[in-house]
């Protein structure tokens, strides 16, 4: 097999890790709160800026910068819920979609206002590994490993803790969880916080690989929705697998053509698949 193709495939798998992490966050929020955060990728953008400024500008040690970003974005997630989602919880689903769409608009423009449209890089150069003449970016490898760890941690949390069980239960019967002593509003806040923390974690991993600019969310935001829908909205395991399917299409497509066309392939694949399986790849 062509060595460069193999390299593309491996990088695709590694990219899939981060996308899977983001899909997990979005699916968690959708599964529990029943709202699609159109602005999810832009919240990741906020995290990337936070890391950039903390580390590159104010010379906070990188691990500490990461930690602050994760906590900060988790808090942002909670604020988004409190101020934007909570008021429209009983509105038509399209209003909810649009409220977060308005936030997308706001975040992108506000970032432009504050930071301009320059591309900024935190300037951490991680080595490129060479394994049997295949080049693999170390940053991607780390990202992949951390994304997997994050996913497993989330799984354990959902499986083993009371709150985690309540989170899984609430999407199955929203009304009856109250009878178990579960405060729905509190669960929503916890979930928004976790969704934010996952976005913050993804921001750390992406900041190692990409420049940050106000519109970076537009490049991978739509891909994340697509992954979630493909896996079945709210189905976390489905989304996790779909992330790797899509990232492979993007990686291999990019190898044979251009980056944009590889995304065109991925989106087209998605549209066609929706016709074959309208409720996602893994719907029963």
């Amino acid at each position: 097999m062509d060595i460069y193709l193999l390299e593309a495939i491996i990088n695709g798998i590694l990219l899939g890790g981060v996308l899977a992490l983001l899909a997990l966050g979005l699916n968690l929020i959708f599964g529990v709160i029943d709202v699609v955060w159109i602005c999810y990728a832009d919240i990741v953008m906020c995290g990337m800026y936070a890391i950039f400024f903390l580390y590159a500008q104010y010379h906070v040690p990188l691990p500490l910068a990461f930690l602050i970003a994760i906590i900060g974005i988790a808090a942002l997630g909670i604020l988004v819920h409190l101020f934007i989602i909570a008021p429209v919880l009983d509105s038509a689903p399209i209003n909810q979609l649009l409220a977060t769409g308005g936030l997308l608009f706001f975040l992108q423009s506000f970032a432009t206002l504050l930071f301009g449209t320059d591309f900024r890089n935190i300037g951490v150069r991680l080595p490129v590994l060479e394994v049997a003449t295949i080049y693999v970016s170390f940053a991607r490898l780390i990202a992949f490993a951390v994304a997997l760890i994050g996913a497993v941690a989330l799984y354990v949390f959902l499986k083993r803790t009371y709150i985690g069980t309540a989170i899984r239960a609430i999407s199955q019967d929203r009304e009856i969880v109250g009878l178990m002593g579960v405060d729905q509003r509190r669960i929503y806040l916890v979930v928004s916080g976790i969704g934010g923390a996952l976005a913050g974690l993804a921001a750390c991993l992406l900041a190692l690989q990409y420049d940050v600019h106000p519109f970076i969310g537009n490049t991978f935001g739509p891909v994340i929705f697509m992954i979630c829908v493909l896996g079945g909205l709210g189905n976390m395991i489905g989304g996790f697998i779909a992330a790797f399917v899509i990232s492979q299409i993007i990686a291999i497509g990019g190898y044979y053509s251009s980056t944009e066309l590889s995304y065109v392939f991925a989106f087209t694949f998605f549209i066609v698949l929706m016709f074959i399986r309208p409720r996602g790849l893994f719907a029963p």
């Binding site: 069980t165 309540a166 899984r168 239960a169 009856i176 109250g178 178990m180 579960v182 405060d183 729905q184």
Partner: protein, 237 residues
């Protein structure tokens, strides 16, 4: 002595449709009380109002003298009221044991989860066999047991049961009613809604007849069993 559960002139509505009109009822400690009535009388509504999933419009409601009217559902559970909802409403994709775990969500119940789980498994050995199975895949009878067990996990003082015998085979219905006896023996107070009038009057001490959202009649089980109106309209005798 203050009653365990006490409702005074409670009203409730779905939007502009009023479903309960000034309902008053008392349940003494350790007592089992039934609520009977035709379809659409508001029995389920009454249960929902007590457990706080449907806000009360008017009236007062208390447990052991502590006011609970207006509390949200998750706070009512903490006061010691557990509700076995109509149609069981298990979390179908969670396992039996996970359903039980979520029944013990409130802090006081978490602390003695293991102890409570033992007790519940002892009451329902069948559930222990099926602990890992998704609750939605069990038989109707098993699901009803699981729903009752889930409510017991919070170690309630008062158990509200909404038509626990609905849709079950006669032999299982029998088991459900026997269970009410055993639960009472453990010192719980029970308020039970039933269509199975004849059988429920065998297990409760007293009962209320609810019609069109208002109490029409109440009395001891023996009195109601002897009441000609009840016999004709609800027992088909």
């Amino acid at each position: 002595m203050t009653p365990m559960l006490s409702l005074a002139t409670v009203s409730a509505a779905y939007g502009s449709f009023q479903a309960l009109f000034g309902v008053s009822l008392d349940v003494a400690r350790g007592e089992a009380v039934g609520v009977i009535g035709p379809n659409g009388a508001g029995k389920t509504t009454l249960m929902r109002v007590i457990s706080g999933i449907l806000p009360m419009r008017d009236g007062t409601m208390s447990i052991e003298g502590r006011e609970i009217g207006g509390l949200p559902a998750h706070r009512v559970v903490e006061q010691g009221i557990a509700h076995v909802p109509e149609n069981r409403r298990l979390f179908p994709r969670l396992s039996v044991e996970e359903n039980l775990r979520i029944g013990a969500f409130i802090p006081s119940a978490r602390a003695r989860f293991a102890e409570q789980l033992d007790w519940v498994y002892q009451l329902f050995p069948r559930l222990k066999e099926r602990r890992g199975q998704p609750a939605g895949t069990m038989s109707g009878g098993e699901q009803q047991m699981c729903a009752i067990a889930r409510a017991l996990m919070s170690k309630p003082k008062v158990l509200l049961m909404d038509e626990p015998s609905a849709g079950l085979a006669p032999i299982v219905v029998q088991q459900v009613f026997e269970l009410v006896h055993r639960i009472r023996a453990e010192g719980l107070t029970v308020l039970i809604v039933e269509q199975n009038v004849q059988q429920v009057l065998d297990v409760v001490d007293r009962a209320y007849l609810l019609e069109v959202g208002a109490i029409k009649l109440s009395g001891t089980a023996a009195e109601l069993k002897g009441n000609s109106f009840i016999r004709e309209a609800y027992m088909g005798l």
